[in-house]
């Protein structure tokens, strides 16, 4: 059964599909912080029947879409220093209040990129630890420490095919045991007390293929219905 599966035939989720899948798991009324990179796409895929409020840690609750060309304001930016807009009902605040929201557990979900995630939910996403790298952490550790649900949104492996989901992170940690769920181009994986449990696979992707690309034990936790698909 498994032998018919060839890695090159895997139908991966696109980045937009990954982002849409994350958006589907965010409840109406949630306060959400989106990391820089692929996580930013989540904002564009919120289901029409839901309203979520986007927080950016540099001091804005109620981030709107990108401004029209020529309407950019260099003093209205997000944590990635990109120009944004503010929705009606937005609020500005200073950094101590902004990180009080994060550290105090008021933000429901953050969606972060990852260099590595461990079997126990450790996250490494701020430094390669190389000797001449310029260390730069920003708000990543605060988000890990304070946000209620930490979702990782990342390609399943690096561009060179190296595993990102591992037994133990080799890169410097951003947080210990903080990741709740991992969304990749191949699978959705929960981090649980019983280890990593696959909840869903991209269409056509086989469990064994994901297992091969994962550096930590995976349990197949898909519902029977999903198994059949």
């Amino acid at each position: 059964m498994l032998s018919v599966n060839q890695p090159q035939t895997i139908a991966e989720w696109t980045r937009d599909e990954m982002a849409a899948r994350v958006a589907r798991d965010i409840r109406n009324g949630s306060y959400v912080n989106l990391g820089i990179g692929i996580p930013e796409l989540v904002a564009q895929h919120v289901p029409a029947d839901r309203e979520i409020i986007l927080h950016t840690e540099n001091g804005l609750l109620g981030v709107g879409p990108a401004p029209a060309p020529g309407r950019e304001d260099p003093e209205l930016i997000n944590a990635g220093k990109k120009c944004v807009t503010a929705i009606p009902g937005a609020a500005y605040f200073h950094h101590a209040d902004s990180f009080a929201m994060i550290r105090g557990g008021h933000i429901d979900v953050c969606v972060l990129g990852a260099m590595q995630v461990s079997a126990t939910g450790d996250l490494a996403n701020w430094s390669t630890g190389e000797k001449d790298a310029i260390p730069a952490v920003g708000g990543a550790m605060d988000l890990c420490a304070g946000v209620k649900s930490v979702f990782v949104l990342t390609e399943h492996t690096t561009k060179t095919g190296q595993r990102k989901i591992v037994m133990r992170c080799t890169y410097p940690l951003t947080g210990v045991g903080v990741v709740n769920r991992i969304y990749t181009n191949l699978a959705i994986i929960d981090v649980t007390r019983s280890g990593l449990i696959v909840r869903e696979l991209a269409p056509g992707v086989m469990f064994e293929a994901v297992r091969e690309k994962t550096g930590a034990p995976l349990t197949d936790g898909r519902s029977r219905q999903e198994h059949r698909s």
Binding site: I53, L61, G62, G89, A91, A96, M101, R103, G105
Partner: protein
């Protein structure tokens, strides 16, 4: 659509149960959420731990909640005032506990609770009775006390205006503890004079961003505590 509006104070406090910790805003009557407190009296939850700067006056509002025997413990800075008889009576009778906290320490402990800071050091009260039992630690040659964060299950707050997201602005010195208590409670319940459309509150001037607020109730013409006291009114 997000809409944090509740139709009545009664609806908004309906799940406050016996033994809950409840922060109540206000400095004296300024900012005291009197309709929410009265709804809590109607609700009848008992053995409440109340965190509030004062203990109310006359027989309305917070004083009435205490008089009604619903409060087992007060955490406050100033449980005395010109028209405060209820708390002193119960306190002298040993029927209510008091944790006295300096006002600034009270404010900072509440902020800490909201900001995910479990504890901090402060110079306030070093060498006084209120330092008894507290850890003292020296930084740069000066002594400080360790103080821990305060959290609550609910907070009852009064603001001036809100939008459906729970963004708040306050009126003058009625702001006092409101923004902090909204941060520090699992469920912050706020009565406002008026609920406006999103965007009507200037995003530069919002004092409490909606993320800190779970429920809002419009009370267009709140009772004025000092007038009720002057008239000798009792609640219920």
């Amino acid at each position: 659509m997000i809409n944090k509006r509740y139709e009545s104070p009664g609806d908004a406090v309906a799940d406050i149960t016996d033994g809950a910790t409840v922060m109540i805003g206000g400095f004296g009557e300024a900012g005291s959420p009197i309709e929410l407190i009265h709804a809590l009296i109607d609700r009848g939850a008992k053995r409440l731990i109340i965190i509030s700067n004062n203990t109310g006056s006359g027989r309305v509002g917070l004083a009435a909640l205490i008089a009604n025997g619903q409060v087992s413990r007060m955490i406050c800075s100033y449980p005395r005032s010109a028209n405060s008889m209820v708390f002193p009576e119960l306190y002298r009778a040993g029927r209510i506990e008091l944790e006295l906290v300096p006002q600034g320490t009270l404010a900072e402990r509440i902020r800490a609770g909201g900001a995910g800071i479990p504890a901090f050091y402060t110079p306030t009260a070093v060498g006084t009775q209120l330092a008894q039992g507290k850890e003292v630690r020296t930084f740069n040659g000066r002594d400080y006390l360790l103080e821990t964060a305060l959290h609550a299950d609910f907070s009852l707050v009064r603001a001036d205006r809100a939008d459906r997201y729970g963004n708040l602005v306050y009126n003058k010195t009625a702001r006092n503890f409101g923004p902090l208590m909204c941060m520090a409670a699992t469920t912050a319940i706020v009565q406002v004079r008026k609920i406006v459309e999103p965007g009507e509150l200037d995003p530069e001037s919002i004092v409490t961003p909606g993320v800190f607020v779970q429920r809002i109730v419009e009370i267009a013409s709140p009772e004025q505590e000092s007038l009720l006291v002057k008239e000798g009114r009792c609640y219920p």
